[in-house]
């Protein structure tokens, strides 16, 4: 499976889902398309035909508002019939705008930030206790780090030497109303995570080679949980959405949508 092709395909699907359902969070979704594509194409042990396979690696999308891109990916990888994606956000459907465990392949429902890492640490601890070798990946947003519960889970994971958990920070430096730095500074991130006992890695979050290399490097770390600070661009791949606060909530109109898919196709 080619992660670059996968990334392009899911971006196109995601744009369509958000446009057709009049939804938000396209910027947040595009920000993580490359991370997800590399994880599912090259890193994680997955079983789309049996989403609950006991040996699967577990992926938790803690920034649940980016559900559309994960749904698009799971549909593309045949966890369920891709045609169902057209029901995204529609009345009575289970493809809700924040990620839902009712969808095959989704481990955990989120939407309120600050829940994913504790849940993932619980899974990682369970794997250790059962002597199982699968890994847990938890993808969080940068603004989410302002939640206190995250720091409880960071302490816990390091204390219990959970080297089977990888946290990824989608560090696009923008949150809902303004930039992270203008809202509530989270720096110095590397030092903070290191001082909490995590092995810290940094990656260019849209460079598939770098992502792949970094994920493999994380797998080699023993006795420490790993955290990857992925430097990303909110709205990546659509020039007028990139680094723009307004695409956190704004829904693309028809002109935006047609222009966006043209740009993604031509990239």
């Amino acid at each position: 499976m080619n992660s670059s092709k996968l990334s392009k395909d899911i971006k196109l699907f995601c744009l369509r889902m958000i446009y057709e359902s009049n939804a938000s969070h396209i910027g947040s979704a595009l920000s993580i398309a490359d991370i997800l594509s590399v994880l599912y194409a090259d890193i994680m042990q997955t079983f789309p035909e049996n989403p609950n396979h006991p040996n699967r690696d577990r992926f938790i999308l803690s920034k649940g508002h980016a559900a559309s891109i994960l749904y698009a990916l799971l549909g593309e990888l045949k966890y369920f019939d891709k045609a169902k994606l057209s029901n995204y956000g529609k009345n009575g459907d289970i493809l809700m705008n924040h990620v839902s465990h009712k969808i095959p392949g989704v481990e955990f429902s989120t939407g309120s930030l600050g829940h994913g890492l504790s849940f993932g640490a619980g899974k990682a601890l369970a794997a250790k206790k059962k002597g199982e070798t699968w890994n847990t990946y938890v993808l969080m947003s940068d603004g989410e780090l302002q939640e206190g519960s995250i720091w409880e889970a960071l302490m816990f994971s390091a204390h219990h030497k959970l080297d089977n958990i990888v946290a990824i920070i989608d560090y696009n430096k923008l949150q809902s109303l303004k930039s992270i730095n203008e809202t509530l500074n989270i720096e110095p991130l590397k030092q903070k995570f290191a001082s909490f006992g995590w092995h810290v890695l940094e990656v260019e979050g849209h460079d598939h080679k770098d992502l792949k290399k970094t994920f493999f490097e994380a797998k080699k770390v023993k006795n420490k949980p790993q955290i990857i600070i992925a430097n990303t661009v909110k709205g990546k791949g659509v020039s007028f959405m990139e680094n723009s606060i307004k695409w956190h909530y704004k829904t693309p109109n028809k002109r935006d949508y047609l222009k966006a898919i043209q740009e993604v196709k031509n990239a």
Partner: protein, 296 residues
């Protein structure tokens, strides 16, 4: 009740290596016997209730049955959203144990008064409430929940409770556990939790009450059991509920929402502004023998 709880958990943990006890840095001189017996099944997460619930949920999603342990409000309100989203919405087999329900920690002040806990837990769509009346019923609640793992909240008192049953009862969800009185009586003093002792004291204190009323505990209830409970109580002509909780959102309010007519003996809101022993606070703020005569 604390000791009965830990003894029961130790018995169950022997046969189930995936039964885990997670404490939020509380349980001094109570939880050590579990930790010593099953160190691999015991975790102290530290003073971090949100993480405690998240960890418990993650483990439960991988086949573990998890009990979390803390006191009073701490395992409920600090981590309310984690309970709602992680445990209840995902329907995971986690039992949240709160020691010191009501005003058991009365002298410690309002921060330690669990007088609104039912109101939150009973609004959750999957969670059941286990509120035993004595140590034997506590043990029976552990029997029930280990046989039927599900999202649940176990509210117990603290220590020194009398044995009110002759033997460990067999509990069925939503069904009454009759403690005293003639079985054909149609008047019922109904309690949930450790306030059962007060119910019995009231019953024993007056000949007429003793003759015409029954006393029962309802130790397993909650939103999912509304139908069973309504049916169970439909045979009674008069019901007086006693609960160590504020009126708002409590057990009595739960019954009234179900269309069950009942009088409610409850803690008055003013209890929140005063400290004192459990007995002092109960007597002063609505839970005393004399109150019953206003309700008969």
């Amino acid at each position: 009740m604390r000791n009965a709880l830990i003894k029961a958990l130790i018995l169950k943990a022997k046969n189930n290596r995936q039964l885990s006890l997670i404490v939020g840095d509380l349980g001094y001189s109570v939880v050590e016997s579990f930790e010593n017996s099953f160190p691999d099944q015991f975790i102290n997460v530290g003073v971090a209730e949100q993480n405690m619930i998240g960890i418990a949920s993650g483990m439960a999603s991988e086949g573990f049955q998890v009990f979390t342990y803390s006191i009073a409000n701490f395992p409920i309100f600090r981590c309310a959203e984690h309970i709602r989203n992680d445990i209840d919405y995902h329907n995971l087999p986690v039992t949240i144990i709160a020691v010191g329900g009501g005003v058991a920690y009365g002298n410690l002040g309002y921060s330690h008064h669990a007088v609104q806990d039912f109101s939150f837990i009973r609004s959750l769509i999957n969670m059941i409430i286990l509120a035993p009346g004595d140590p034997l019923e506590t043990s029976a609640c552990i029997d029930f929940i280990t046989d039927n793992p599900q999202p649940s909240y176990l509210r117990i008192n603290k220590s020194g409770e009398k044995l009110l049953f002759n033997k460990k009862p067999c509990l069925k969800p939503g069904e009454l556990n009759i403690v005293a009185g003639r079985k054909n009586n149609k008047k019922l003093i109904l309690t949930t939790g450790a306030v059962l002792e007060l119910g019995l004291n009231i019953w024993e204190s007056n000949k007429l009450i003793k003759k015409n009323w029954m006393v029962a505990s309802l130790p397993i209830w909650g939103e999912t059991l509304r139908g069973i409970i309504t049916k169970e109580l439909s045979k009674y002509k008069k019901i007086i509920v006693i609960e160590e909780h504020l009126l708002a959102g409590g057990f009595g309010s739960f019954l009234r929402e179900s269309g069950i007519s009942c009088e409610i003996m409850h803690l008055e809101n003013e209890v929140c502004n005063e400290v004192g022993s459990q007995n002092y606070l109960k007597k002063k703020f609505g839970l005393n023998i004399n109150m019953i005569f206003d309700l008969l």
